[in-house]
Assembly symmetry: C2
Homo-oligomer: 143 residues x 2
């Protein structure tokens, strides 16, 4: 049975579900940063997903990346499946800017996370819901 890793629960806010993936907003206000977690039990590596799930994940990565890139006018999108700390397969999709806190380095371990203030979080969640609804998002807040 699919269960979200406790560390991911701790570090993020649930935006909702796409066809395959749970969509999390990383609770670091320094970057527009989503995490896709395929709702499959016991999957650590991309290649352990079935080919159909891999293609669905790719479609979701592509759609979410393009949506974030356009909406936030990102200078670059970073897409990464690392998992050295949290083995459960999860894909970071991060909109990067030449003036952001870590540029041009990858974001991990450069700056401590800066949690969203309550109001900013609600605004960001609404923004993301509107952005991802056309891609089939089932919003967590409306469930």
């Amino acid at each position: 049975m699919f269960e979200l890793h406790t560390q991911l629960i701790k570090d993020s806010v649930m935006v909702g579900d796409l066809s395959l993936s749970r969509v999390l907003l990383c609770n670091d206000s320094q970057y527009p940063w989503l995490i896709l977690v395929p709702r499959r039990a016991d999957v650590v590596e991309l290649f352990q997903l079935s080919r159909i799930d891999q293609q669905q994940l790719l479609d979701e990565i592509s759609a979410v990346s393009a949506a974030l890139a356009g909406h936030f006018r990102a200078d670059k999108m970073n897409v990464a499946a690392l998992g050295n700390v949290v083995p459960q397969l999860h894909v970071h999709i991060i909109a990067r800017f030449k003036e952001d806190a870590a540029w041009p380095r990858p974001v991990w371990g450069v700056q401590p996370a800066v949690a969203y203030a309550d109001e900013t979080l609600q605004q960001r969640m609404t923004e993301l819901e509107q952005l991802l609804l056309p891609h089939g998002l089932q919003s967590a807040r409306s469930l």
Copy 2:
């Protein structure tokens, strides 16, 4: 016309070509680290590839990751398209180990690269060619 970014040429050794991607060995002997570069001109983001190319790239990422993971008995595979420094779309595929130089951090910026010694490089290239030939690799050395 596809041309490899000069920084990628500088930092790597060409292993060969898969159906879509040029396969580079990152010249850092601390990690088994390949880089896939789709041979398409002027592509920066994954979502800018055609859907057919995206699926082909996914198949190549999946095959190469699984091959490296099995051959090197990696503890974790890291797969990432970042591109903050080199915008040309390229996908890092890195076999990670709990005792490696950067674990559990991502590899970028943690330790300076340690170039392969000549003999070790030739051994590693032969090893990778044998590993990837079943996946359709056209070796750079035999061309």
